[in-house]
Amino acid sequence: MSTRLQTKGRLVNRDRQISFSFNGKRLKAYEGDTLASALLANDQMLVGRSFKYHRPRGVVASGAEEPNALVNLGEGHRFEPNARATTTEVFDGLKAGSQNHFPSLEFDVGAINQHLSRFLPAGFYYKMFIHPRPLWKHVYEPFIRQSAGLGKAPDAETRDPDTYEYFHAHTDVLIIGGGVAGLTAALAAGRAGAQVILCEQTADWGGRAAVDGDEIDGMPVEEWIKNALQELESMKNITLRTRMMGAGVYDHGYVLCYERLTDHIGPSEGPRHRLWKVRAKQVVTATGAIERPLSFAGNDIPGVMLASAVRDYAINYGVSAGDRTVVVTNNDDAYRTAIAMLDAGLSVPAVIDVRATPDTPLIERVKSRGVRVMQGMAIAKVKGGKRVTGVSVCSQAGEGAVLEDIACDVVAMSGGWSPVVHLWSHCGGKLTWDEAGAFFRPDPTRAPLSFDGTPFVIAAGSANGEMDEGAVLADAYTMGQEAAKRVGATPKGAAPTAKDTAQAPLLPVWMMPQGASYKLRSKMWLDYQNDVKVSDVQLAAQEGYESVEHTKRYTTLGMATDQGKLSNINGLAILAQELNAPIPQVGTTTFRPPYTPISMGAIAGEAKGEIFQPLRRTPMHDWHEAHGVYWEPVGHWRRPYCYPQSGESHEDAVNREVVNTRENLGLLDASTLGKLIVKGPDAGKFLDMLYTNMMSTLKPGRCRYGLMCSENGFLMDDGVVARIDDDTFLCHTTSGGADHIHAHMEEWLQTEWWDWQVHVANVTEQYGQIAVVGPKARDVLQSLGGMDVSKEALSFMGWADGTLGGIPVRIFRISFSGELSYEIAVDAGRAQELWELLHANGQQFGVMPYGTEALHILRAEKGFIMIGDETDGTVIPQDLGLHWALSKKKADYLGKRAQQRTHMTDPDRWLLVGLETVDGSVIPDGAYATGEGTNANGQKVVQGRVTSTYYSANLKRGIAMGLVLNGPDRMGEQLTFLKTDGTAVHARIVDPVFYDKEGVKQDV
């Protein structure tokens, strides 16, 4: 059984006991424990079930590479699935539960799959469930989905109460990894004077060295770490961060770091995670190395663990994984585990070493303590079900004939180490195969390149393929200095030193024994979580899935939540063996961010709920809010859709607003309209190119309605342009168009007409804009006093500056409703004041505010087009009968040539008309007019469509505008519009102007 040892454990505080629960059971732990160490201390080796076969799963590792120990954490709104127990720090009151089983962890009916595993090889689902077709959707797929999926889904109504934040940082050098390599690199770069951020994903500095190392600079490793930290903390140019993981490296030195602020203390105030966006001139990856498992039958049974993890639990947490540990290895390093077990007073019945190697100091030390070292041997199979009970030993060279059984409850395995090259690789860093260590290491000649073609990532220490302590320190110091040099700092000081322990070479063994039968190979796990075995990779190769990407996807190797940190190299070695190709030729799959999974909450950051996106408020926003507005989102703006009074439906409110505006007086908040100042000696020339109309001839004091087309000729925006003075124009755009028309102007100015003397400024938010509309519009303005708004002083399509009720304003005599109308621009800061004034003084004239829907109906009654309704990116001005706005005098304007293309000049186009239903009803939005027969693809032929359709309260009937094939030539003809329910509505083609055809009301 696994239990707490008498020895102390360097990372736990034995003076502070805390309690947590696992599957409802209350258990004890110490401060500093990870959930994995605490579970092991409570003899809870079984922690979950695998993905495909629901095999029992135990803790196998001690860090970020853990594939098995995934748990549900917390409850309610703070529930989190798939948390890695090895990187979860226990706090008092933590609640955890195991995953992927029914009804319980101990007894899981899904485990039936493991007995069927012979019928469920890699890719089995591609080969079955094909017939009969409906069964896939209704039976097979739901079953597969339910049995897969690991963690429980959070409840549908979960609302995460925690907050998350972004943090932006710029630095010379970012060092990722706070082991001795990272600390050393930081000392080197820091002493040189470079700005350094050093981050470590765990809570503790020093990494593995404190467990495995001997002495640095002649002092115990722990002491050296303490001193190094002291020196680093004393430097002002160094920022140290624990619990912060380098998650991803992106182009040009952009690095994502993931800081976990409160996960180790449980629910608390302040942000839970902080996502750092670091811009680093140089990135040093001191990310260490990960031990590889070995492939032998039964290597997935709980109790089979990485050798390094077994000693980590003993030394760091004072926890034994079991009483009797058999070590199986292809290298010297694992002997350290035997020593650690002996030091803890535990038994090591044997070390099984596939090598036949002369004694080295490590082997010697183990032997001298009476441990049996079995050379040239391998594990034929591990015995046990939910826990290891023993191993059968065989010769590595043979086919697995059992020579001896050894009872044990832990198997500590080591297949060598692989540098953590993920961050090096994210942004295109290439790897090279290291024969001696049998691993991929960063190829310094093919580092990720920055914007200027120079390398910006440097690997250091074990992450760079240096596996001996002395070499790690030397390499890390050199690399830290290199980073400093690249940012222009001058290296100083000398590297720390340590003695290397002489070790015998590793023997790459990818399968044990060498001649294992299918039965054994089908019990050798490569990917513990996804249940991918040696036989699966071999099957993939046999079936032609030879590319490492095909093998991965066919078998799901390395696609689990650990992203193959333990399985990738072993898997592709098996593939290489099968293809009879060298490993480097087979290559690796692509490393993608993040290094380990990061929370969606952290990625989303602060922006959620009300502040999900910036809310743009017009100056009158609060007034609308106070007057019962029903809002409509328009981009980031909120615009009043209508102002329902008590008991009114939205529809009632809109109808009332429409009628009142025509009969009395309406107020519209038009502040969202885009307002762009175009200024400079070439402003007129520029606008002549942008608009289809001639703008350069516009006189100061006058307004002109203009159209803007894309280079492809399609109508993209419209609005009124006012000339302020010779050099200055004010261009109004649609509300949705303000930003992209501004960008459109800048794009042309910056890329094509860069020598024209024009500036564009977006002043949309500097002004409030109020449309005062209706027969009494002039009356209310005159009642405020301050400027002459008579027809003579301010004629239609003119503008003037002045004051109203003491407030400075600019008034445009323009109309989008066909009524007498003044659009009043006012400093944003005084807009609400003016609005209130107009509203108060307007009472005597029957004033009512109206919203966007009434605006739409008023303009539709007049046959005015609306960008986004009559246009959809496929419509040209000619389609809308706007020929009058296309200047024939200008040599060119954007869209002119495009509009000369054959399809654009086709006489048979869909053109704008009015549509009047025969029965007075409203045609549904977006309905099409049917034609005769079907086309070559069997689709019903259509001959037109509705673009705007409303109930007109003024005309007391449905009115619509639409685009119809040769429409204007077919006045009076009746069309059939099909509804989605199959019924039809009939409408006559009419003139698009429904109201005040002569236009007498606006120009009074």
Binding site: F79, P81, N82, F119, P121, Y125, Y126, K127, M128, I130, R133, I144, R145, G149, L150, G151, A153, P154, D155, T158, D251, Y518, S535, L539, E543, G544, S547, E549, T556, Q563, T590, R592, P597, I598, S599, M600, G601, I603, A604, K608, G609, E610, L615, V634, Y641, G713, D872, G873, T874, A898, T902, H903, P924, D925, G926, N937, Q939, V942, K979, T980
Partner: protein, 414 residues
């Protein structure tokens, strides 16, 4: 070819799976083919498959620079739908969707087509009108879609927050017969079927030149030597411009990165595909349990198959807002692909200025869903010189201004 079935699995299990054949043969290229398809992605393989199946043309090679299915076929978010607005689009995507329904049976390879339904959310009044227009168009195009209310949306997707606060759900366009499929399996299934017809799938072989005589194609040069052909299909999303350049013509396309990501796997919680265009994101849950998430394209042109992180942020933010329960899930992996984007956001399936050279490209962000229909039409185009499915998608439309603009209906990647 030995048929796949539960029976075959039982038979092979009895002999330790030693009897399974290669899914597709590994053969050396021949000196000449009737048709060479460049690009062994879904579209290229489907084109080859229907050349054989519908027209009996089996002296065909599919040449692939890397590994088959390794481009956008193996990188997309596997959404299948046909609720497009414009007639030519609806025709080809609906053809594809209907072929997907029987593709597992047709190919004898389970591509796991899952007709779980697709909702496109409307969160502004403008979007409501747009989708109602699409619904009307679809009814006439023979594409079955339906406008559904917010409460129907909530019933289909209990994890959705339909009440805002910023963009309350106003309804949705629902295509019950849309869904997802296993993307790799589509490529593998077609490859296996092509190989079975005697076609050669030649991987790890790059085309370096396109040979012409008198304005007509005669073959290609590759990293494994010259190969002659009568007709050549270029189906190489992401690098179409490069191949067109080899054939001596230019394409009106830009290549931009498109990114996607998955969460860690969780038990089933969302049975349909949801696309939310106002907030810019879409999501489905894979059979493995991962939440599969995508958003818009990056705004810069590039050939690197990775993108900018701020796009991932924008997408995840949109989806956390739409599905608040996502907040404590974790992103497992993000990746990118390169998509060819045309001026009207519709594909090009066309003859070219070079006699005998045909091109299929420009699918932008939505190519996976079209694979069978695209292959079907492209095969007809190559075999007969035209196809009703592809006629409207010719290169000449850019000269004539006869665009097929879908941005009206879908302003976001799909």
């Amino acid at each position: 070819m030995k048929k796949y079935s539960a029976f075959a699995i039982a038979r092979e299990a009895a002999r330790y799976h030693q009897g399974w054949e290669r899914a597709w043969a590994k053969r050396a290229p021949k000196a000449k083919y009737d048709v060479i398809i460049v690009g062994a992605g879904g579209h290229g393989l489907a084109t080859a498959y229907y050349l054989g199946k519908n027209f009996g043309i089996t002296n065909v090679a599919v040449i692939e620079k890397g590994w088959l299915g390794g481009g956008n076929t193996g990188r997309n978010t596997t959404i299948i739908r046909s609720n497009y607005l414009q007639d030519p689009s609806a025709a080809i995507y609906e053809k594809a969707r209907s072929l997907y329904e029987n593709l597992s049976q047709d190919l004898n390879y389970n591509i796991m087509f899952s007709p779980r339904g697709v909702i496109m959310l409307a969160q502004t009044h403008h979007e409501v009108r747009g989708y109602q227009r699409t619904a009307h168009a679809n009814a006439l195009q023979g594409v079955k879609t339906e406008w559904i209310s917010p409460s129907q949306v909530k019933k289909l997707v209990p994890i959705m927050n339909i009440e805002g606060p910023r963009y309350p759900v106003l309804g949705g366009l629902w295509q019950a017969r849309g869904g997802t499929a296993r993307h790799d399996a589509v490529a593998w299934g077609y490859a296996r079927a092509c190989s079975d017809m005697g076609m050669d799938i030649i991987q790890q072989t790059e085309v370096t030149a396109i040979k012409r005589e008198g304005g007509k194609v005669t073959g290609v040069s590759t990293t494994r030597g010259d190969i002659a052909c009568d007709k050549l299909g270029i189906v190489v999303a992401g690098h179409s411009g490069v191949l067109a350049d080899m054939a001596g013509f230019r394409l009106p396309i830009e290549s931009v990165p498109l990114q996607a990501l998955v969460s860690e796997p969780i038990k089933p919680c969302m049975d349909v595909v949801v696309m939310a265009n106002t907030v810019h994101g879409y999501m489905s849950q894979s059979d493995k349990g991962e939440m599969v998430i995508g958003g818009g394209t990056d705004s810069h042109n590039a050939y690197t198959q990775r993108g900018s992180f701020h796009h991932i942020e924008e997408t995840v933010r949109a989806l956390c807002e739409t599905f608040p329960m996502l907040s404590r899930l974790k992103m497992l992996r993000q990746w990118g692909g390169i998509v060819d984007v045309t001026g009207d956001r519709s594909p090009i399936l066309s003859k070219t200025p070079v006699d005998g050279v045909f091109i299929n490209c420009g699918w932008g962000t939505g190519g996976f869903k079209a694979i069978p229909g695209s292959g079907w039409g492209m095969a007809e185009l190559i075999a007969k010189g035209h196809s009703p499915l592809t006629d409207e998608f010719g290169l000449d439309r850019f000269v004539e201004g006869r665009f097929i603009d879908e941005s009206v209906a879908a302003g976001v990647a799909h």
